[in-house]
């Protein structure tokens, strides 16, 4: 059965979220195009005011790898929480130059090690994907967060 573009993008997002939620951080860079990519988490406050600084920004595939390398090698001291993404309202369209432009809503719930759950993050993805060797890869993922008063820290990417 051949999947529609929308179904393919949804599946891509679910696989992406599962890699993060299952703490398979080494897989995360593989969701990005290996030649060039742009991943940023942006505060909606800044985004709407045209202030350019992100909360975090990876402007090359190497920087994407470094973000999770610090988690894999346990360089950072941060609170370990169970995270779960809910990705909805997905739209995907093929642009004139052949890339796929996609948007989605994002909700991330967090649960602590004693089982207490709360909302961690509300926001949206603004993505550009390319089909490379038959697979979808992110050229750009900007995560624009409404919950820009960050609940203590943003160690695991969104």
């Amino acid at each position: 059965m051949s999947l529609s573009l929308l179904e393919r993008v949804e599946r891509f997002n679910y696989d992406y979220a599962e890699a993060l939620n299952q703490r398979r951080f080494a897989e995360w860079p593989d969701f990005f195009a290996a030649d060039h990519c742009d991943y940023r988490v942006l505060s909606r406050e800044n985004h709407d005011a045209d202030l350019p600084a992100p909360l975090l920004g990876c402007y090359t595939p190497g920087m994407v790898k470094d973000r999770v390398e610090m988690l894999i090698k346990d360089t950072l001291t941060y609170r370990h929480m169970y995270l779960r993404h809910y990705i909805t309202n997905v739209r995907a369209d093929t642009a004139a130059d052949g890339v796929i432009v996609s948007r989605a809503n994002l909700l991330v719930m967090q649960s602590d090690l004693e089982g207490n759950s709360s909302i961690y993050m509300v926001g949206r993805y603004e993505d550009v994907l390319a089909e490379i060797a038959g697979e979808l890869k992110l050229r750009k993922r900007h995560v624009i967060v409404d919950s820009f008063s960050i609940d203590n820290m943003l160690a695991v990417p969104l």
Partner: protein, 439 residues
């Protein structure tokens, strides 16, 4: 400062608050958790003889520009009037108390309460009351009502180096004296020799008492222990030169570290300093090290400069990042950190790009700073069960509170507590029951 304090300060535990050491090398855990102490801080400290940070002049450059901020739990509106002067008033209508301005920032030539449309000018004076004279000769305010008596609650405002401060007290000393000479010099270096502009805001909710953050920024001892990223990549290491300088009260600290290539030539030699923690990672490498190769644009080899100013302001240079950090206490067990991230007028596109890269070091997602929120959470969690007990501040020496030319010290934290204790009007420290503590 009033002398109305009773001999003991009530606490949740029912026991008086005790400061067993005159050099403030012991801090009662109750100050981080007790609702009554928090309430007293709001009244005595934030409304006392202190200059509270309110924002930067570059955030409200034009006539009518305003922004809201917080002094403790009180929301403040900061405005730029037509004559260029800066004003600050509480965001609560003189009539029935409603919040007047319900935006974070914007521009308005007057401020009108949404409820009954009482209108104020940019200095906070009441200028208009609908139906003041009634309607068809009936109703209206009584003849004795005078708008002059019903302005907003205003603060005395002063500025230095583009930073705006406000105070509730007529007794607060001149702003420059409050800031002190070392911080004044560094404000000049960081914020005046180039004209700053805001390139982003970062906000972080930390589940810890606001004073724990004040301890954290006055604590270079943790800098090379908690933050292994900056050790591994030579931003701050235990071998680095640096030190602290205090103002006359001990309340404001300038701490700094200085880059010296020799210090970082062989991080492996630092192993001994890390005891047997196994945490040092001298061989850590980055796939894309461009973050670490951004040149320091002031060219003076300071790798970190942290100005920690009483009670809620930090001006920080960490590597090539420049930011204002401001604390908004939210109850005894939470604080919001508001970070104003700065670029400078005349930055080249490459410099701007470097700032958007260097931000990865700081803020709630910063390779260095995200760990501070976690440290505060852990202290807050641990301290809850320690009422009546005290933390220990002896690194770098006890006794006199003085400047150092070394970084592994907690003396500047003791300076904070000395001033806090004085402003809060607590009974004298050091005459209590240290001897009774279990050995």
């Amino acid at each position: 400062m009033s002398n109305s304090t009773s001999a003991s300060t009530p606490t949740q535990s029912g026991k008086p608050l005790e400061w067993p050491a005159a050099d403030f090398s012991r801090v009662p855990y109750d100050v981080f958790t007790d609702p009554e102490i928090y309430r007293l801080e709001m009244a005595r400290l934030f409304r006392g003889a202190v200059w509270n940070y309110l924002g930067m002049e570059c955030e409200i450059p034009e006539w009518g520009d305003f922004q809201t901020t917080w002094i403790g739990e009180t929301q403040i509106v900061v405005t730029r009037a037509k004559d260029g002067s800066v004003h600050a008033f509480e965001n609560s209508c003189a009539h029935r108390g409603a919040r007047i301005v319900d935006q974070v920032r914007g521009n308005a030539k007057r401020h009108t309460c949404p409820y009954h449309l009482w209108t104020y000018n940019l200095a906070g004076d009441l200028t208009g009351v609908p139906l003041e004279k009634g309607h068809n000769g009936k109703g209206g305010m009584p003849p004795c009502f005078d708008k002059k008596d019903h302005g907003l609650r205003t603060l005395r405002v002063a500025t230095r180096g583009g930073l705006i401060f406000g105070t509730y007290s007529d007794a607060t000393e001149a702003l420059d004296d409050f800031i002190g000479p070392h911080s004044l010099t560094q404000i000049e270096r960081l914020l005046v020799q180039r004209k700053p502009k805001v390139i982003g805001y970062l906000r972080q909710k930390i589940p810890g008492n606001w004073k724990l953050y004040n301890e954290n920024v006055r604590d270079p001892y943790h800098g090379s222990l908690l933050h292994l990223f900056q050790v591994s990549f030579g931003i701050q290491t235990p071998a680095m030169q640096g030190g602290i300088k205090l103002d006359k009260d001990g309340k404001n600290t300038w701490n700094h570290s200085i880059m010296n290539d020799e210090d970082n030539a062989d991080l492996g030699k630092l192993g001994e300093a890390y005891a047997d923690t196994g945490k040092l990672m001298p061989d850590l490498k980055m796939h894309d090290p461009s973050l670490l190769k951004i040149p320091l644009d002031l060219g003076d080899n300071y790798k970190t400069t942290i100005l920690s100013m009483f009670p809620t302001l930090i001006v920080a240079q960490v590597d090539n990042t420049y930011a204002i950090r401001h604390l908004r206490p939210k109850g005894p067990d939470a604080v919001e950190l508001h970070i104003t991230y700065l670029g400078f007028e005349g930055d080249t596109p490459e410099q701007l790009h470097n700032r958007l890269l260097a931000v990865n070091l700081i803020g709630p997602a910063g390779y260095i700073s995200l760990e501070d929120g976690e440290a505060l959470r852990l202290v807050q969690e641990g301290a809850k069960a320690r009422l009546g007990d005290h933390s220990v501040l002896e690194m770098g020496g006890v006794g006199e509170i003085q400047d150092t030319d070394y970084l592994s010290q907690e003396i500047s934290i003791r300076g904070f507590w000395k001033h806090y204790h004085r402003v809060m009007g607590f009974p004298p420290a050091g005459n209590a029951t240290l001897a009774k503590e279990p050995a």
